[in-house]
Symmetry: C2
Subunit: 197 residues, 2 copies
């Protein structure tokens, strides 16, 4: 019985380990690559290799960075407000709002289910930063999920003890949404968080 050549089997194994890629999609990717131009496939391989060679994490805020400090940390015009996010993709989302402060990427959220403890996230480093930097405010921008909320509460307790001003992103109705389609929990939070006009 003949299966794939050794090289393909090896690549299949590696691709299957990537998030969201199962055995069938790994096969489809290989069929696709085999049919592409040599140069395109080689440049994909090289881009993956250079990811590890050239991208590191900013030693201050843990954003992606090509140097010791990321471009945001190097930007002296940024305000000393730290926005705490779970992942770099959340930082990217907030950047798009034209937020002009700084960030701190936790690289995850506290999770009882997945057994992720505060020490495994960049929480100790956040506390260290707050003690050493002149921080005006900390905005906790973890996701409004159960685990994101728990992480927010945990961080908030610490910040209260340190005595630093901190806030949480508002929970409410998304812009352009219609009340009849909003879930009850969100609507309840929107009422609680109503703003006087």
């Amino acid at each position: 019985m003949v299966l794939y050549p050794e090289i393909i089997e090896r690549l299949l194994e590696k691709l299957k380990k990537l998030p969201g890629i199962g055995p069938k999609s790994a096969e489809r990717i290989i069929y696709y690559l085999i049919q592409q131009k040599d140069a395109d496939v080689i440049s994909l391989g090289e881009a993956i290799i250079s990811l590890k060679n050239k991208v590191k994490l900013c030693r201050r805020c843990f954003n992606f960075s090509e140097g010791e400090l990321c471009n945001i940390c190097l930007d002296e015009k940024r305000e000393n407000i730290i926005c705490v996010v779970e992942e770099v993709k959340d930082l990217i989302s907030i950047e798009k709002t034209n937020f002009k402060g700084r960030y701190h990427v936790l690289w995850g959220k506290i999770s009882i289910l997945d057994n992720i403890k505060p020490e495994e996230l960049k929480i100790p480093q956040l506390i260290e930063r707050i003690k050493n930097e002149k921080v005006e405010e900390v905005i906790i921008a973890t996701n409004p999920t159960m685990e994101g909320e728990n992480t927010s509460i945990y961080i908030s307790e610490i910040l209260k003890k340190i005595g630093i001003k901190h806030s949480r992103l508002a929970i409410g109705l998304p812009v352009g949404s219609e009340l009849e389609y909003i879930d009850t929990q969100t609507l309840k939070k929107a009422i609680e968080g109503r703003r006087e006009l």
Copy 2:
């Protein structure tokens, strides 16, 4: 506004082109890779590069091959029965049944919707093979889908003219299935194709 470092943006673009990978999964793959060991990521990149350097298509049957001819074509014990399949993955499936003949991979199926014509598949090469090799029988093993059926009919017409014995995989009930869950078309084909006992 700061987005990802250049290297990440470039890799995102490349990953998004792969089949089944959208912008979100491309991001998730990058987060995953960033957190893996250097050696693992580098070996993934290298495996992709060597795919193009080392794997080609067998010049006879168009199976994947590390040399001019694939291991199946080189195997002199194989019978001279050619099983025609759409893709290499179909060849792999048939190999698992312990089939001891040879193969011919079409690299697709005739499709009016996708505008794929017979000349774009390995059909001319199949005809050439049949004329030059001592072939006892051709088993058409394209998928039992509309396009697979059309491809089968097209090839069958040609083989009739050449005057070579050829057959089509049986359509019927899958082993272990239950009649109540079988679609009507399959059941109809199973009745038409019934075998005398």
